[in-house]
Amino acid sequence: MAAALEKRLMTEPFFSVRNVVKRFAGLVAVDNVSFDVSRGEIVSIIGPNGAGKTTLFNLLTGQLAPNSGEVRLNGALINNLPPDQRAKLGLGRTFQIAKPLIALTVIENTMMGAFLRYPGLRASEKRALAILEQVGLADRANVRASELTLSERRRLEVSRALALEPQLLLLDKVMAGLNPSEVTESIALFRRLHDTGLTILLIEHNLKVVRAFSERVIVLDHGAKIAEGDATTILSTPAVVTAYVGTRKRA
């Protein structure tokens, strides 16, 4: 039996999205989108505002359930699983608008994630501290989350997701609102995480970030996938440019 499982794992993509559709009373927000992410990859989903990126993201995180289509992680169907079940299966996510637990300290926030794998108090605290070092928040461990700067809050989001020891990390516009030096810092962080074998899927409309460190890009427009491929080629294809910039006005 193990062999069959082994075989299926080899051929089955790590994370697959098959003809997913999401309608909101007539408005088709996500229109039959399909794509795969293999283990250890960094993939970006880009597209103009209102292209359905966030809706798609919420379908992957469990915030919303798709009207049709399948979302599979490691071959397991997770369409209707609530976010906490998906976290158990190894799917960590951050929020576009950071949602730290403001009354709790930085380390307590991180421990919330760590508890999933380390039910003991001390063990989860040790694990959380290690992650805070990795993310560069160790010195702020006992500070209340309410006193953090925006970029620190972003990193706290990441640390809480990392504490789940996810196999796949979903980042929702994690660079938004950061100044250039903070952006480069974050990119360095995600590169380090990627080197440890973590698969990352991020939503971003800051093309500089996309170009900087995502290997593959998926482009959405009006809810549909209009392009997919490696970063450099995709970003130069005309369809993507027009979708972003709009048609060039004849002088």
């Binding site: 469990g62 976010p83 906490d84 158990k88 730290p100 637990l101 919330m112």
Partner: protein, 328 residues
């Protein structure tokens, strides 16, 4: 330096704190009037701590804990009167029953927030009252149940009030201990996350509903044990007493508020403020102008809600933090 205070230091701190509350008993053990007040103070401190588990830490503001209190009281009294089962054993089925019906009853209303949940639990209390009046065979109906005086350790009936004071102290200590263990465990931290932001808690892999259900079960079971002790102490229980909002339902929440909602020691502080004050006021002013002492108690509740929203513990905590910040 670990953010979590060391286990031994925490336990010593709380044990020390609780032992201090034994001092008044030692000093006043001769004066039955104050011993009786202390008995209620310990009992209601424990009940407020139990309520705080779901009301304070869980953020689910329940006004229906009178139902668990009543189930515990009726179950223990009925088992003792009917089959001579010692209340020490009779407490357990009541607690287990509440640990199961509590979550079942609260579960559908968990998605309600704040005041909606409170109103739903109020409705539970009212249904409970009507049922207690109606099911004569089980609850003795409006006449309730009377337990004759037959002293004995096994019967949990004592002539000496101080023994009762120690039992109620034990109950309070049990509730505080359970809260400490809870808040130093995964479930405790999960509770804080759930109260703070359910969506973020979901994302952190927390099964929000299950956390609330387990939390309610614990809180309901302790409230039921409190009810059993109350029944054996008073030895006459009837629906108006057990389901009274002012004396039971809302009082748990009030004590926790005035003491400091969402803190471990807050409810104990609250009980030591409210119960003696109310009993003394009733004794002194009760005979004079009818209702005047309740005007005062109502005023205290109003002022506490307006000016002491984080309760005495909250105020002390803020004071201590401001002092330590100015010192450092």
């Amino acid at each position: 330096m670990s953010a979590i205070p060391s286990t031994t230091r925490t336990w010593c701190l709380y044990a020390g704190g609780l032992l201090v509350t034994l001092l008044p008993l030692a000093v006043l053990s001769g004066d039955l009037f104050w011993v009786n007040i202390l008995i209620y103070t310990y009992l209601f401190a424990g009940l407020a701590v139990a309520w705080n588990i779901i009301g304070g830490f869980g953020g689910q503001f329940s006004l229906g804990h009178g139902v668990f209190f009543a189930v515990g009281a009726y179950m223990t009294a009925r088992l003792y009167l009917g089959w001579e089962i010692s209340p020490w054993l009779g407490m357990i089925p009541g607690a287990l029953l509440c640990a199961t019906i509590g979550p079942l009853v609260f579960w559908p209303t968990f998605r309600l927030k704040g005041s909606f949940f409170a109103i739903a639990t109020l409705a539970f209390n009212e249904v409970g009252l009507v049922m207690a009046n109606y099911l004569h065979t089980v609850t003795g109906g409006p006449r309730g149940l009377q337990i004759p005086f037959k002293a004995g350790l096994g019967n949990m009936i004592f002539a000496d009030q101080c023994i009762w004071a120690l039992i109620m102290f034990g109950f309070m200590a049990l509730c505080v201990a359970i809260t400490i263990v809870l808040m130093r465990s995964r479930l405790g931290y999960y509770l804080l996350a759930v109260r703070e932001d359910e969506e973020a808690a979901h994302a952190a892999g927390i099964d929000v509903t299950r956390v609330k259900l387990r939390d309610t079960a614990l809180s309901a079971a302790l409230a039921s044990i409190g009810g059993s002790l109350f029944a054996m102490y008073i030895r006459t229980i009837d629906p108006p007493t057990l389901f009274s909002l002012a004396d039971i339902g809302v009082k748990f929440a009030l004590i926790a508020l005035i003491g400091g909602i969402g803190t471990i020691i807050g409810p104990v502080l609250g009980a030591f403020l409210i119960i003696p004050a109310e009993s003394y006021l009733r004794a002194v002013m009760g005979g004079g102008l009818p209702g005047l002492h309740l005007v005062v108690m109502g005023g205290v509740m109003l002022l506490a809600a307006l000016f002491m929203r984080r309760g005495v513990a909250g105020a002390l905590d803020a004071l201590w933090r401001r002092r330590s910040r100015s010192a450092s």
